[in-house]
């Protein structure tokens, strides 16, 4: 079976009346890993949040389709059940709800009524993935993200990714604040997911992560649009030379978008 297709066309998004995305075009297919790179403030996180349906972002133009279905028409939970996943840069902390209860609830919501996973099977699956991600098994019984260190939160996002097995995952700065060991573990998790049916959009401003996960495509965002696309060699050049050469090439002075003057 061929993988899913996430197709973004002419996407324009504003936040509190300020336009951030100025027409994004991008297609991510099952089996592909795309990296979106760019300096801070160029609209990368806005793109990921808009695809998932963050309540603060307003889509003013364009379409987002998943396998021909209109994602923008769906509620956030419907998007998830359709196969989208967003590993968030700042995951919420939810007191009183254990990580395990949350994950089981999320998994069951995908499986649907009558098809719920048995508790034993769930525990086995969760234990296995936690071991793979070198997580302390106690974290299953801790409250969701509460008091987690930055690195623990990121690992927990990848744990959710591995448990929920989405068709298309977006990873929003999953590498920020990670030390090299944690980065390796997180990358290991993502690489484990890699297959024909899994598409991934990695948002980062460091090349570092891409040393461990080789992308098929690299895109550079500036001023709320994709200004350059290429293969993995593009990321390497960015690492070596920074972004200035692109700005020069395209005649861009200020690469940011929607910032206060």
């Amino acid at each position: 079976m061929a993988g899913s297709v996430l197709s973004i066309k002419d996407l324009e998004v504003e936040i509190e009346g300020k336009q951030i995305l100025n027409g994004i075009n991008l297609e991510v297919k099952g089996g592909e890993i795309h990296a979106i790179m760019g300096p801070n403030g160029t609209g990368k996180s806005t793109l990921s949040s808009s695809i998932m349906g963050h309540p603060k972002y307003k889509v003013t133009k364009g379409t987002v389709m998943l396998d021909g279905k209109d994602v923008l028409e769906m509620e956030v939970d419907e998007r998830a059940r359709a196969g989208l996943f967003l590993a968030m840069q700042y995951p919420s902390e939810i007191s009183g709800v254990t990580n395990a209860d949350f994950l089981r609830s999320a998994l069951n919501s995908r499986l649907g009524e009558g098809n719920e996973i048995s508790l034993m099977k769930f525990i086995r699956k969760m234990d296995k993935q936690m071991e793979f991600l070198e997580m302390d098994l106690d974290m299953a019984q801790r409250y969701l993200n509460e008091g987690f260190s930055g690195g623990e939160k990121k690992r927990n996002e990848i744990l959710q990714l591995m448990m929920l097995e989405p068709k298309i995952a977006i990873l929003d700065e999953i590498d920020s604040g990670l030390d090299i060991d944690a980065l390796k573990v997180v990358s290991k998790g993502i690489n484990e997911m890699r297959n024909e049916d899994f598409g991934c959009l990695i948002i980062t401003h460091y090349q570092r992560l891409l040393d461990y996960i080789t992308p098929d495509y690299v895109h550079v965002m500036m001023q709320g649009r994709i200004v350059k696309s290429g293969g993995p060699e593009l990321a390497q050049r960015l690492e070596a030379e920074g972004y200035d050469w692109i700005k020069k090439e395209l005649g861009i002075e200020d690469e940011t978008v929607g910032q206060e003057a």
Binding site: M52, G53, H54, P55, E75, V76, D77, R79, A80, R81, F85, L86, M88, P91, S92, I94, S95, G96, V97, D101, F102, L103, S105, A106, S109, R110, Y143, L144, Q160, L164
Partner: protein, 435 residues
């Protein structure tokens, strides 16, 4: 002096009631005195809630007739669900309306000289001991409701743990309200002598549906030097019961009192929970969760007063308010002069689930000593949209996401309850109420 009898029951009735129960003379006298002063005393004044129109005084019956339960198997199913039927060597008191209806004492208690009995038996058989503590933490003349409580006391329990006795198993009391005509003036007295420890869990439990009545509860909990009391309660009294409930603790040197209260009444309720940290190094942890729904008005005042040096007080209150209900949460941390190196912390959070609901969190710190630490956090708001977004982004429906957040929000007390059945009941009550 001529006094107009404005109460439902006069001095003569109270005297004969007290005699009929074979109460010691001091208690009869105290009842009569309390009745006499009640009229001149004013109602308590809970901050931000006006209660002068509430009916705390007029009622038809002081006693209703109820049958006892001869065995634990005879308990109604909903009561049985609260009891850990599998537990070996457990202790349980069941009161049905005003009637001591069932008592079971653990071997552990009996062997170590622990007293656990209904309040009438306590008055008859342990008169001196009862007198030493009864209405000393809460004074009969504090206000009209404490005076009426003393005068009309018609039920309750007495738990006394001698010096150096550490009880491992929780002690359970269930105050079953299953008669629509019953009014409860319930007194619970818990004493943990020096170096002892106990865990007590009570349920005020209505099975009547909507009624018209009143409830006036006083709990006094005394923790002696280095003693520890864990006090859990889940109140689920029926709509139409106007409730005043005062739970007060006194902590001696290095004593600990830990409250975990699930305040889930359906009627108008004034709840006053206060601990006096008298001894140096004493400690109190007060956790309260509450839900307001329908038209009900509730006021929850939680106070810790520091007298001893190095005393620590922690207040946590989480409330959910929906429909047109009003819930006021007052948290008071008071450090008296001389209570140096003390720490008073509190957190009050209120979740509003509807436009018409009213909720208020008032943190109050009153500090009369320099060398102390104190802190408070308070918030009133809706379910955090970013939390919902996060949960929904994993495929969880909005309704289920809200349910998870609310249960999590009320979890602090659920987790503290040591009896599985009571814990489960609280979770179910929460489920039913926030639906």
């Amino acid at each position: 002096m001529t006094t107009e009898t404005k109460w439902a029951f006069d001095q003569e009735y109270i005297t004969s009631f007290s005699k009929e129960m074979n109460e010691p003379a001091w208690l009869t006298e105290l009842r009569v005195q309390s009745l006499a002063i009640a009229e001149d005393l004013s109602l308590p004044r809970p901050e931000k809630t006006k209660i002068d129109k509430w009916n705390f005084t007029q009622f038809e019956k002081l006693l209703v007739k109820s049958d006892i339960f001869s065995a634990v198997d005879d308990l109604p199913e909903e009561v049985k669900a609260l009891v850990d039927m599998e537990a070996k060597d457990s202790s349980l008191y069941v009161q049905r309306n005003n009637k001591p209806a069932y008592l079971q004492l653990s071997k552990e208690m009996q062997e170590q000289g622990v007293i656990f009995t209904d309040i009438f038996t306590a008055a008859r058989e342990y008169s001196d001991l009862l007198k030493k503590y009864f209405m000393t933490a809460v004074k009969s003349d504090e206000h009209r409701l404490t005076a009426l409580h003393t005068a009309f006391m018609n039920g309750g329990a007495f738990l006394y743990v001698p010096k150096n006795v550490q009880l491992n198993n929780p002690i359970q009391a269930i105050f079953l309200h299953d008669d629509a005509e019953a009014n409860l003036f319930n007194h619970v007295l818990v004493v943990a002598e020096d170096n002892s420890s106990l865990t007590y869990v009570e349920n005020y439990f209505s099975t009547t549906g909507k009624v018209n009545g009143l409830v006036n509860i006083v709990t006094e909990a005394f923790a002696g030097q280095n003693a520890k009391i864990q006090y859990g309660a889940v109140d689920t009294l029926a709509e139409g019961l106007t409730t005043y409930v005062n739970r007060r603790g006194i902590a001696g040197r290095d004593a600990r009192i830990e409250w975990a209260l699930g305040l889930m009444n359906d009627g108008n309720t004034i709840s006053d929970n206060l601990t006096n940290l008298i001894g140096d190094g004493s400690y109190c942890d007060m956790k309260t969760v509450a839900i307001g729904r329908g038209e009900q008005t509730q006021n929850f005042t939680t106070s810790i007063i520091h007298f001893g040096k190095n005393s620590n007080g922690f207040i946590l209150k989480h409330g959910v308010v929906k429909d047109s209900a009003t819930s006021i949460f007052n948290g008071i941390g008071k450090i008296e002069h001389g209570a140096s190196k003390s720490n008073a912390e509190q957190e009050s959070r209120v979740l509003m689930l509807s436009e018409k609901a009213r909720g208020d969190a008032n943190p109050i710190l009153l500090i009369d000593e320099d060398d102390v630490t104190a802190g408070h956090a308070a918030s009133v708001g809706r379910v955090d949209p970013l939390q919902l977004y996060y949960l929904m982004s994993r495929g969880i429906s909005k309704h289920e996401a809200e349910r998870l957040v609310i249960h999590g929000f009320l979890a602090p007390v659920v987790n503290e309850l040591p009896i599985e059945g009571v814990k489960k009941q609280l979770v179910e009550v929460i489920e039913r109420k926030v639906k």
